[in-house]
Symmetry: C2
DNA sequence: TTGATAATTCATATTTTTATGATATTAGAA
DNA sequence: TTCTAATATCATAAAAATATGAATTATCAA
């Protein structure tokens, strides 16, 4: 499966990457990498405004990057796309090495 | 080095991902994954209009994703960021499996 | 029911990205 | 020199992403 195989999937792959390519959504995904969280927990942990959080979550959900389930009044979000943690691991290795300042 | 380390680098990581998050640039990077190419070769191989190609290359260069060298009248571009091929490999594995239609 | 909390949707202004035609630069050939 | 090819930059219009205040929906408690 060569990298060139991606040529036929550039739209889908670009949409997926657009889902990740935002500082606030990366922050959210770092939080979600620890496990499922409610919207309130995500807001508390990231400092992102509620409306903005909803929009970002909607975008991640539309892209299949996260999934939701409701429990009482709270909506619990979790990473649902297998590629997310793998991509983030590669990025962490390259952008956040121990040797970095 | 946990994924949470990325929290302090979200701007840089998001900028890097924005560099990749476009169908045309992914197409260009698929071509460049085979090795260094001139602008003309990239245009021929991808069908992207020259002006658009220049702008995309400028963006990739600004982000450190590709590098250039001049040889006579031709500019040769090549992937210069170690994370690119690793990220693309992850994406290819998830979006372009043999089992895919 | 009424009220309160959790979260989303709507409306809209701002910013960023993308596309494209016109012009400019650079290097080599004639 | 002058011409041409290769490529970039400029200008600008159109589309997409982002931020934010106001209104709405959903669930539960009193």
């Amino acid at each position: 499966m060569p990298l060139s195989a991606m040529r036929e999937k550039t739209e889908a792959v670009a949409d997926f990457l657009k889902g990740l390519a935002n500082p606030q959504r990366l922050l959210m995904l770092c939080a979600l990498a620890q496990g499922e969280k409610t919207v309130g927990e995500l807001i508390a942990q990231t400092g992102i405004a509620p409306t903005s959080m909803s929009q970002h979550l909607a975008k991640l959900k539309a892209e299949g990057i996260v999934g939701v389930r409701r429990e009482h009044r709270n909506l619990h979000y979790a990473i649902s796309h297998a590629a997310v943690l793998e991509v983030m691991a590669v990025l962490a290795a390259h952008f956040c090495q121990a040797s970095d300042g």
